[in-house]
Symmetry: C2
Subunit: 249 residues, 2 copies
């Protein structure tokens, strides 16, 4: 399936579980005057913001021929830190002065977890991954500040070590978890009400495991009132041509 073409021609759906083996990416595009701050913010917060490519035009070497304005399933357009609209095609919202950042996505290590026999609940339940804003602040950069956003996967207690070990080998796509167990430790009060994505079932004997999430730059857009930005909608990623193995160490 050529997912980018599907999305370009109108399909809207979350991308978890699609195009197995091919790296997916978060999108964040900001005006050039904010690009230094964003690149510095990413460098200072490499777990939530691992940069896979920086694009001064809406093209990327991670997917020759792709158009970043049309080839994602769903976009968010932001003004002054406020969500202006969600659109399936960002062509008319794009500006020539935008610099686009493609940020690694945890879906990359999900394939490795599945291969190790670790169930990914939101894939099983055919939902978007649950994501939460935390009480933990990222290291600021210039005018950018904001909290860490995490994704959560319930993992059986006996597989937590495997999940950490395996995801840890993919530092370019968030790497090892930032927190295991009690969500209160991250300032999350209710796992059944994620800030982005859908809730998933947590079964007896499972612990919630939290990974840094590529939606973190969107939290910075909001907290810092960036004058203009275009991002992917959470869970609706850019599908690249790069095999996941590129990012395994």
């Amino acid at each position: 399936m050529n997912w980018r073409r599907e999305f370009r021609t109108g399909l809207v759906r979350p991308t978890a579980g699609l195009a197995p083996g091919r790296t997916q990416a978060n999108l964040i595009a900001v005006p050039r005057g904010w690009a230094w701050d964003m690149l510095l913010y990413a460098q200072r917060n490499p777990k939530p913001c691992p940069v896979l490519d920086v694009c001064e035009t809406p093209t990327t070497e991670l997917a020759p021929g792709a158009d970043l304005r049309t080839d994602l399933p769903l976009y968010r357009v932001w003004r002054d830190g406020q969500l202006l609209a969600e659109v399936g095609d960002a062509t008319s919202a794009w500006r020539d002065d935008l610099v686009a950042f493609l940020i690694g996505c945890s879906f990359t290590f999900e394939a490795a977890l599945l291969a190790a026999g670790i169930e990914i609940r939101h894939v099983t339940q055919d939902r978007n991954v649950p994501m939460y804003r935390t009480g933990r602040q990222c290291r600021p950069a210039g005018r950018l500040h904001g909290e860490l956003v995490v994704s959560m996967r319930p993992i059986p207690a006996g597989r937590v070590a495997d999940a950490i070990r395996i995801s840890g080998r993919f530092p370019a796509v968030h790497g090892a978890p930032v927190h295991v167990g009690d969500p209160a430790g991250l300032g999350i009060s209710d796992l059944s009400e994620p800030d982005f994505g859908d809730p998933v079932d947590i079964r007896p004997g499972e612990l919630p495991v939290f990974w840094a999430c590529g939606v973190t730059p969107q939290a910075a857009i909001m907290a810092s009132a960036v004058p203009y930005a275009i991002t992917h909608a959470p869970g609706h990623m850019f599908v690249t041509d790069i095999p996941d193995s590129r990012y395994e160490v």
Copy 2:
């Protein structure tokens, strides 16, 4: 031993083998107008240029209290891509508009190699690590371009796999090698004449193994005729307070 204080008060020597367990870093400081290009160059070439910190003043969170203008053993000052001087104190050469990048250094994984019983020849021989310019071009960024620079360690054939596996777990400090064996494959004609550092002995049964090197940005300074820059002198690194384990995945 407080090495930064030693260097601040005049000691000049390569830092390989010093302060075991503490991360060392390459320094490259460029005028603010070149900082975006440099950060982008680093992002696009993460093996030679893994960024550990970006400093808009001559201080770093990697070593509270340190002064980047004085606390390295030896600096190089560059004008229009030409080496202007080597100095032990860069205070008078520093400019307020410089942005300093601290780049990971392979000395970090050397400790892990030594712990695994793999000899590091330049440490045994008490020399600076041999470094070579290669025929391989880095991915350009803005006005910056240049060739990949590598460091070389001779490794017994039976330990090459271990050396790769172990160093690969440190992607933030160059990670796994870029080349094993015949130097001609990198466009290097004579291992006994390194472009930077000192030659080391290669014994029967050993292969030369090549890692991406943090001197690569200096090659870009030269190739791109950057108007002004201050860097460390090859092998004369900045000693941070960060334990090497921070960078192990």
